[in-house]
């Protein structure tokens, strides 16, 4: 299989989607539903840097999304004097998220496995409460509103923005995987003591992976706030969001870039497209939708995610697209699947 060609085909398909959409009957139109999935894929790639590459479990990625969304909102809203526009806001959001990540990571990265997971889980809860309670800055439970976008197809700009960022990220992260930095992270994941004894600065490698994860989750927050024109409510950034991002990574295949993106499409697509369409269908068929919360398929999603993860762990523990740990050597002319392994 020719990998670069597959990537380009996927990119072209997703880029053409808003225009294919116009040809479909209204019920089947996806409208702005694919954009959020592209954004989710960005966060999932960030988390993958930590979970897949460095082998560290982070259960609090929603906290970094919250920090990014609020930092972006503060930097761009008319309520505050900064109003530095999208690019400045997004870079600022990544920087603030990475800074918060450094404050969290510096004292906790000696912890391993379960302990780090618990610390990040706790941090996720703390961040949500902090955002709620710093209401002079964040408007507390109301959230910060940004200037609304106008136009029926206003979602096109965030859509192509997310797609472009995702494309750049795929290239950059693939490159990173095939460099000494990617190998150092893999070595730390496989055996930290042997990695240190082989000259890998393990703690620094883990710190950078953590900062990368925090920055990309912050970027996801910025894109999310930019699309909604709203910082989101503090309750949007709860443990469920961390789980959605983590599920995308695990379902797709830890450490595998195409896998993580496919995982994000499955999890995000199930969440915002399939279940929503099924719900619409049930309403059309005249089934009750308000009396019983279980009657709405969108409320089944965690049941389905949980089931997916259990089935994955049982039948395909490497994920849908398991990571190719044995990377092909770089060639003098381009690169690619020189060894034919998928």
């Amino acid at each position: 299989m020719n990998r670069p060609l597959a990537w380009i085909a996927a990119l072209a398909l997703v880029a053409a989607l808003p225009w294919i959409d116009l040809l479909l009957p209204p019920y089947w139109r996806l409208g702005g539903d694919v954009g959020p999935i592209l954004e989710l894929a960005i966060a999932a790639l960030g988390l993958n840097l930590l979970v897949g590459n460095a082998g560290l479990l982070n259960l609090g990625s929603a906290a970094f999304v919250a920090v990014g969304a609020y930092a972006f909102s503060i930097l761009t809203t008319v309520v505050y004097p900064f109003q530095i526009g999208f690019a400045g806001g997004a870079i600022g959001a990544m920087a603030v998220s990475a800074l918060v990540g450094a404050v969290i990571a510096a004292p906790t990265l000696r912890l391993r496995g379960d302990y780090l997971a618990i610390v990040t889980l706790g941090f996720g809860e703390i961040a949500k409460d902090l955002v709620t309670n710093l209401d002079v800055i964040t408007s507390g439970a109301e959230g910060l509103t940004l200037e609304p976008a106008s136009g029926a197809r206003a979602w096109l700009w965030p859509y192509y923005l997310a797609l472009a960022i995702l494309a750049v990220l795929v290239v950059a992260l693939t490159n990173l995987d095939r460099s000494r930095f990617g190998r150092a992270l893999a070595a730390v994941r496989e055996d930290e003591l042997a990695a240190s004894a082989s000259g890998v600065p393990a703690r620094r490698a883990k710190l950078w992976a953590f900062l990368g994860c925090a920055a990309l989750c912050g970027l996801y927050g910025a894109l999310y706030a930019n699309r909604l024109r709203f910082s989101g409510l503090p309750t949007n950034y709860d443990f469920q969001l961390s789980l959605v991002i983590l599920s995308a990574v695990i379902l797709g295949g830890m450490g595998s870039i195409p896998g993580v993106i496919i995982g994000a499409f499955i999890i995000g697509g199930l969440n915002s497209i399939v279940l929503a369409k099924v719900g619409d269908l049930l309403v059309r068929l005249g089934l009750p939708n308000d009396s019983n919360s279980l009657a709405s398929p969108t409320n089944w999603k965690f049941l389905i995610f949980g089931l997916c993860l259990i089935l994955m762990m049982r039948f395909r523990p490497g994920g849908l697209v398991p990571a190719r740990r044995v990377a092909p050597a770089p060639r003098a002319s381009g690169d690619g699947g020189a060894h034919g392994a998928a």
């Binding site: 008319v78 309520v79 505050y80 004097p81 404050v103 004292p107 710093l134 209401d135 002079v136 800055i137 950059a172 490159n175 990173l176 095939r178 460099s179 000494r180 930095f181 990617g182 190998r183 150092a184 893999a186 070595a187 496989e190 055996d191 003591l193 042997a194 990695a195 240190s196 004894a197 082989s198 000259g199 890998v200 600065p201 393990a202 703690r203 740990r325 044995v326 990377a327 050597a329 770089p330 060894h339």
Partner: protein, 339 residues
């Protein structure tokens, strides 16, 4: 001059003294064997020399330098920076809402007033001054203490030993088993031929650096006889090959001293003979070798000197012949003759 000097080294685990005031030295260019019955403390000694376990007392010097990192200028700067950073963070965060109120909200008033960075800065500084210095002082002290503690625990690390020039293999093989054979060697390779930017953007520097690294890694694989297996996962190699791969990975960092922990374990006599050749070739590259070994034909075949440990104590030292005739050594291995 001695390359490695171990002086009165003691390692205790709770009440158990695994290594008891052991001293010996290894001269540059020698092959020295460390032998002794099981549980004599050989691997613990290796772990202390490579900073995997801290020694309880005594010291290790390598090429004239202490294994513990000294309090360098950089380390002091890091502690100072951490103190300043945490102090500033605590000072700002101790009343961040009040700070935000005076610097941003009051001065902007939802667009009613023109907001100037300079005014906001002055207002913020005034507010921070009014808080008094205590948050910054407490934060600074906590930051300095944390940074000092990080330095203190970090001054003795496997990475430090590696950077001084001590490489090792492990008794229970510790390869990166999911990575390919060549990637294992590449991880251990010394030097940084390209930076993160070159890696992310695939600049020509990355390609040149990567090509050069791969040539060196392949040379090392050829040296230990594994070049045919470069692209298979390391975990799939047979046991003897895994031991050789660990040696290649250790050599990749251009060490001056190589510590081999039971390199011949699980090998048949023919493989043992090959190993002797390999160790001799390593010495010919200018690398000093210290090894733990139970196979006496290997030990007697290559060692310039032998150090014998028993119950954590050094009981004999000398050339292979002398040591093998030493009554104390015979007693340690075979037990005392009944009278």
């Amino acid at each position: 001059m001695a390359l490695l000097e171990v002086d009165a080294l003691t390692v205790r685990f709770g009440g158990l003294t695994a290594v008891d005031r052991v001293g010996f030295s290894v001269d540059e260019g020698q092959i020295v064997s460390l032998i002794g019955p099981n549980g004599a403390g050989k691997t613990t000694l290796f772990n202390a020399v490579t900073a995997v376990h801290p020694a309880s007392s005594g010291r290790v010097r390598f090429a004239g330098q202490d294994l513990r990192a000294p309090l360098s200028f950089g380390a002091m700067a890091r502690i100072l920076l951490m103190a300043l950073g945490v102090g500033a963070l605590v000072q700002v965060c101790s009343d961040i809402e009040g700070l935000w109120q005076v610097a941003v909200v009051d001065r902007f008033d939802y667009g009613q007033q023109a907001w100037a960075v300079r005014d906001a800065w002055h207002a913020a500084v005034r507010h921070l001054r009014a808080q008094g210095p205590w948050p910054a002082l407490v934060g600074g002290m906590v930051g300095a203490a944390a940074a000092f503690n990080a330095w203190r625990t970090g001054r003795l690390q496997p990475l430090r030993a590696r950077r001084l020039g001590i490489a090792r293999t492990f008794q229970n093989i510790r390869l990166f088993s999911e990575l390919s054979v060549i990637d294992n060697v590449l991880v251990g390779l010394a030097g940084a031929p390209y930076g993160p930017l070159a890696a992310l953007l695939r600049l020509p520097r990355w390609r040149r650096g990567e090509t050069a690294m791969r040539i060196r890694a392949r040379d090392l694989l050829a040296f230990v006889g594994l070049e045919r297996f470069a692209d298979v996962p390391a975990g799939g190699l047979p046991y003897g090959h895994q031991r050789r791969l660990e040696i290649a990975r250790a050599l990749a960092g251009d060490p001056r001293l190589l510590l081999l922990d039971e390199p011949a374990a699980g090998m048949n006599p023919a493989e043992g003979a090959d190993l002797i050749e390999l160790i001799r070739a390593i010495r010919a590259r200018g690398v000093t070798v210290l090894l733990i070994e139970h196979h006496m034909n290997v030990v007697m075949g290559i060692s310039d000197r032998v150090v014998v440990l028993d119950h954590g104590v050094r009981i004999a030292e000398g050339d292979p012949k002398t040591v093998s005739c030493d009554p104390k050594v015979i007693e340690a291995y075979l037990g005392k003759e009944e009278a």
